[in-house]
């Protein structure tokens, strides 16, 4: 350093004297000078001009564009999900509710960034979630994506396992998000009415769909400005849109009634080997409230994608195996795959379908109730109108010979017998007497041409004749009019029929059926209340009263004796309809039958109407296929169970006394006088044994049901008979035979089902199997039915 310093200083000294300096010399190199100036202008000024212009365009011209993008970049919208409302039955039993579940998704971008070991992750997740690890690995590969769902709606327990795994290995890129899952505690119960929600929690069928806007509530959201990686920002804002919890829906449906209806339909399916399912409705005739609406075989809305019917499920599975066995990518494979998918979809749609409102069927003879009520109302007939049935008849304007179901014919009949016998020929004449126009107007009046307006999705209105075809008999003949009178060659929905018959018996008022009585919000405030809507009065009170008597006579004397229930006055009408539009593979009509029965109780002041229809009972069972034999006892069984539950008062006639059920009390320790008094009040008589002061034993034991008027044995000190006895085989016995057999064996008999003392009415079921050993004094319940009852 020193030499330089000294040189510097030396130069200073020199310059002191001479005022010539280097600067001037340097200026001589004007080329370099010029070049430096050029560089200075380029790098000091020119280069900044495009930058300045660019900044102007970004920050002034395109300001709003970039400001918007930046805002979008910096804001997070977090959805606050609203809990879906519950669905309750009329007694506030939960039919549908939501439970918390979680979805698992991968963030492939993040997984790649964090250099996660996809191999190990796939193995572990595959093990926890029961998924194919290679499939998971595949999902994780698409690194352009930030969201790849690998499992939906897993329960909290499984989610906890995954969370533990994530924490243990500190993995970034596997995420869990909360979701809800719909839960149906009663499983298949009323599945088609309740419906289900799809993967995105939107109602897809039934109440879930019809009341989706109430149930789902509205999701809220929180809009916040947030730093990346969820970093808090001091200059941020938050904006809340509050969520509204879903409203809950309270149904008119009664889970107990629904279960009862479904149980008896299922039993009937088993008993009569019904091929194509069954359906039924229980409705309040005055209010239109639906207490039960069943389509059997049902499905479980908890797993609505699975085919519930085992046979169909097997067929679909076979198709799946078939396409999986084919070479992928080939034409065969595609065809087989399509066949499988179509079969699967068809099966799903079928099981989700609410047949009571969506599918038309031929009502058959049950429709005669509406025809007759109309004819009585318009005065075309009265109770004394004469008919004659010879079994078959040629009717003007009808090319085909008209057959009555009973080929021997019903002979001479009056109006009540026409209904009791369900005589087709009589009804054809009733329709002819009314005339096509009147018949059509009446049918229209009964709401047969319109939807019932029930608050469910997917209601159809069946297929009725065009007006002309019925009214213009000159042109179109009388075939449709006459067939229509007894419920053939047109289709209506079960609910349309039930609604029409309800109007016949309730005083003539056509009501609008409904399944939701009330919608309440999360705080319990009523949002919507449904009340009875009377559409119009279709027949007079007078005609309605007449019809009630006629319908009661059908059960008491006509084709529907099997529907009778001790203690109740039941009315109703049977129906057996042929499916004229179903053909076999050869193009022949298969003549499958739907047997049905519409029952009403109590007839003094009707409250409930019950429809049960069995689609295609098998010919293999050997049981005569008719509504009277199959559907009537089914409805009878439903009513026997349901009416007491619904609080309909029993009203025993003298005749019924034998069928009345008494519960045996405990008389231990009572004196003879006391015990006899109490027994008399209960409707029992006593045989006294022994000579003690008080009762020491009794037969039957306390709590046992026994028929009214039975004789019980009270022991006063004497030892009780503790014998066993074998149960006789009652099947096929009539009332008298059964009673004798029971007496002989020392058993009590409870009569159920058809309680008329007719020789045709025989035991079809017994509660204790034949030849089992039971204590003397046991009560055996016998179900009687008229095995010859037709239509």
């Amino acid at each position: 350093m020193l030499p330089i310093e000294s040189k510097w200083k030396g130069r200073d000294k020199m310059e002191k004297g001479r005022k010539k300096q280097q600067y001037v010399r340097l200026r001589g190199d004007s080329g370099q000078h010029r070049r430096i100036l050029a560089v200075a202008i380029v790098l000091g000024i020119a280069a900044f001009i495009p930058i300045g212009l660019r900044l102007y365009s970004l920050m002034v011209s395109d300001y709003s564009y970039y400001a918007n993008l930046a805002l979008r970049n910096q804001t997070r919208t977090t959805a606050v999900t609203a809990d879906r409302g519950n669905i309750y039955d009329r007694n506030m039993n939960i039919l549908a509710c939501s439970v918390s579940v979680e979805n698992v998704y991968l963030d492939p971008h993040e997984l790649k960034q964090s250099k996660a070991d996809m191999e190990a992750i796939s193995q572990k997740l595959g093990q926890i979630l029961d998924l194919d690890p290679s499939w998971i690995q595949e999902q994780g590969k698409d690194i352009t994506k930030r969201y790849k769902q690998i499992a939906a709606k897993i329960d909290e327990e499984t989610a906890a396992l995954i969370r533990a795994y994530i924490n243990e290995y500190d993995i970034s890129g596997i995420h869990l998000e909360p979701d809800t899952k719909r839960c149906y505690p009663f499983g298949t119960l009323a599945a088609q009415v309740i419906g289900f929600t799809n993967a995105s929690n939107t109602g897809s069928e039934g109440i879930e769909a019809a009341y989706n806007s109430y149930l789902e509530g509205s999701a809220g959201k929180v809009i916040t400005t947030k730093g990346n990686n969820e970093m808090d920002m001091p200059f941020s804002y938050e904006h809340y849109v509050t969520s509204r919890q879903g409203d809950s829906v309270i149904l008119t449906v009664d889970a107990t009634a629904q279960a009862c209806l479904e149980k008896h339909l299922e039993e009937a399916i088993a008993k009569y080997d019904v091929q194509n399912g069954a359906f039924g409705i229980v409705m309040n005739v005055k209010t239109g409230e639906i207490l039960a609406m069943a389509t059997v075989g049902s499905y479980d809305p908890n797993s609505y994608m699975e085919i519930a019917d085992p046979e169909t499920s097997q067929q679909v599975e076979a198709l799946r195996q078939a396409y999986l066995s084919k070479q992928e990518g080939t034409q065969e494979y595609e065809t087989a795959k399509k066949a499988y998918q179509e079969a699967r979809t068809a099966a799903q749609l079928k099981q989700w379908r609410n047949r009571c409102i969506s599918d038309g069927y031929e009502p058959g003879s049950t429709f005669k109730v509406i025809t007759m009520a109309s004819a009585l109302e318009c005065g075309a007939i009265d109770l004394n109108t004469h008919f004659f049935c010879s079994g078959s008849e040629r009717i003007t304007g009808r090319s085909q010979l008209l057959h009555c179901w009973r080929s021997a014919g019903h002979g001479a009949e009056l109006t009540p017998q026409a209904l009791q016998n369900s005589c087709n020929i009589a009804f054809a004449h009733i329709a002819l007497k009314m005339g096509g126009q009147t018949f059509y107007d009446c049918v229209k009046n009964f709401g047969i041409l319109e939807k019932t307006g029930i608050d469910l999705t997917g209601e159809s209105k069946g297929v009725f004749f065009d007006e002309q075809i019925v009214t213009d008999t000159d042109k179109w003949g009388t075939a449709s009019l006459t067939s229509g009178s007894f419920g053939q060659t047109f289709k209506i929905t079960p609910l349309q029929l039930v609604r029409g018959i309800a109007a016949v018996v309730n005083g003539g008022y056509l009501v609008e059926p409904y399944v939701v009585s009330e919608v309440v919000d999360a705080q319990g405030n009523t949002v919507l209340k449904q009340e009875t809507t009377v559409c119009r009065q279709v027949i007079s009170e007078e005609t309605s009263k007449t019809m009630r008597q006629l319908l009661q006579s059908v059960v008491e004397e006509g084709t529907a004796k099997n529907a009778s229930v001790a203690g109740y006055s039941i009315g109703g009408k049977t129906g057996t309809s042929e499916k004229i539009d179903v053909f076999d593979e050869n193009g022949q009509r298969v003549l499958d039958k739907i047997v049905s029965f519409v029952g009403i109780a109590p007839m003094e002041d009707p409250e409930y109407i019950v429809l049960a229809a069995l689609d295609t009972p098998s010919r293999q069972t050997g049981i005569y296929i008719s509504g009277g034999v199959m559907a009537a006892p089914t409805v009878g069984a439903v009513m026997e169970e349901l009416l007491p539950y619904l609080g309909v008062k029993q009203n025993y006639t003298e005749e019924d006394a034998a069928g009345r059920t008494v519960i045996m009390e405990d008389y231990f320790g009572q004196t003879a006088a006391q015990a006899q008094k109490l027994l008399k009040e209960a409707g029992l008589t006593a045989k006294l044994q022994g000579s003690g002061e008080t009762v020491t034993a009794q037969i039957p034991a306390a709590g046992q049901s026994l028929p009214g008027g039975s004789e019980v044995i009270l022991y006063f000190g004497a030892p009780a008979r503790e014998e066993q006895t074998a149960v006789p085989n009652f099947i096929g016995m009539n009332r008298q035979q059964a009673s004798d057999a029971a007496n002989k064996a020392g058993l009590y008999v409870l009569v159920a089902g058809n309680n008329s003392v007719d020789l045709n009415v025989v035991v079809t079921e017994q509660s204790e199997a034949a030849d089992t050993q039971v204590p003397v004094g046991t009560t055996v319940r016998l179900v009687f039915a008229d095995t010859k009852a037709a239509d």
Binding site: L43, F48, G52, L58, M59, A67, G227
Partner: protein
């Protein structure tokens, strides 16, 4: 502060006494200190969010602290270097060249990897980039050569081969480091210096063309040419990956508007914009200070650069002139390239903004280099004085 700028001591002149050390160029010094101060303030603003995030919300000054220490070291270096006559560097040019190449090679052997690139070296606990020293060395050596070649620089032998050989000595180890941005920067500074030295511009153009071809081939061999070009021209095509950086930068700049969101109120700095406190600090400046503030800073840079060339032009000898030109050119090229990248006029290169971007070595070295420029300005002042005296 070590520098005591003294205005022309009139009494000195009156007394007819001449001091050994004249004052440094005051306007340059003021602009420089202004830029450095604004740079530190903006670094604090731009790095605070990242600092909080990194320290678990306990400290927003993690980066500021390191940068301030380096600024202090840089200022001391500047003061010291401003007192060393430019002639000193004439003598040390070749030794520096040797040391630089040795350091660059040692990086290849013992260097530390940061973000996948081996560019750092640890000496006595201090981490720094030898390439920063290499840049300075190149400028000093070229100045030395320019002085030596004299008018012979116009000849191919000296003006191209001579400079070229010296340049390759540094560029080859840098190429082995894959330090593309440093190569580009040095190449550009070298071209400017050769032009100033008198190398025929046609050869420089040819050389630039050759370099461009080389870059294209090199980049395509590296396999990310397509990505980079797409990310540059159409960043919106892959907003979450290759286009992310530049889009976030544009969001920051554009959302600043005319007056900006206000000092410290950037939103993009909250981890949206990566490298928000080093290479992309200017985007945050635009967001916070708006077009107004951004242009003000550009004007300051422009003034610094112009004043720098002015100092070089007034230098007493050829070596000092070329040395000063080289030093200010280094600042100018870095500034222009950085602003061009941040505003997406140029594809991403990885060049920091002098006096603003986070990076201790760069700041200290830059300040030191400015010290040398200040030292050159002392002689100029004397010359001016003398001119006045004439």
């Amino acid at each position: 502060m070590a520098i005591q700028p003294r205005l022309y001591a009139k009494e000195d002149r009156r007394l007819g006494q001449s001091r050994a050390r004249e004052s440094v160029d005051i306007p340059f010094l003021i602009i420089l200190l202004l830029l450095m101060s604004v740079g530190l303030a903006m670094l604090y603003s731009a790095s605070s969010a990242q600092s909080q995030y990194d320290t678990g919300y306990t400290d927003s000054t993690k980066y500021l602290q390191k940068q301030a220490v380096c600024a202090g070291i840089g200022l001391v270096a500047m003061a010291a270097l401003s007192r060393i006559p430019a002639g000193f560097w004439l003598k040390t040019a070749w030794p520096l060249y040797g040391i630089s190449i040795a350091l660059l090679l040692s990086v290849l052997l013992f260097g530390q990897s940061v973000n996948g690139a081996k560019r750092w070296i640890n000496i006595a606990g201090l981490q720094f980039q030898p390439s920063e020293i290499a840049k300075f060395t190149l400028i000093v050596l070229f100045s030395r050569l320019t002085k030596g070649f004299g008018r012979a620089a116009g000849q191919f032998r000296y003006g191209v081969l001579g400079f070229g050989a010296a340049l390759l000595g540094i560029l080859i180890p840098l190429a082995l480091e894959k330090h593309l941005s440093a190569i580009m920067l040095m190449g550009m500074v070298a071209v400017v210096m050769m032009y100033v030295a008198g190398t025929n511009p046609r050869w420089l153009l040819a050389g630039a063309a050759l370099a461009a071809v080389f870059v294209v081939v090199y980049v395509s061999l590296m396999g990310y040419a397509g990505d980079r070009i797409t990310a540059w021209l159409h960043p919106e095509q892959d907003p979450s990956d290759t286009g992310y950086q530049i889009l976030q930068s544009l969001y920051a700049i554009g959302s600043g508007g005319v007056l900006g969101l206000g000092l410290g109120k950037s939103k993009q700095k909250y981890l949206y914009l990566p490298f928000q406190y080093n290479d992309y600090i200017f985007a945050i400046i635009c967001e916070e200070l708006g077009l107004f503030g951004a242009l003000l800073i550009i004007v300051l840079f422009g003034a610094l650069i112009l004043r720098g060339y002015w100092i070089a032009l007034r230098a007493p000898d050829r070596f000092s002139t070329v040395l000063g030109t080289g030093l200010i050119t280094l600042i100018a090229v870095q500034t222009v390239l950085n602003l061009g990248v941040v505003t997406n006029l140029l594809p991403s290169t990885g060049i920091a903004l002098p006096f603003f971007s986070y990076g201790g070595t760069a700041l200290a070295v830059n300040l030191g280099e400015m010290g040398i420029l200040l030292s050159i300005s002392r002689n100029r002042n004397r010359a001016t004085q003398q001119e006045e005296f004439l």
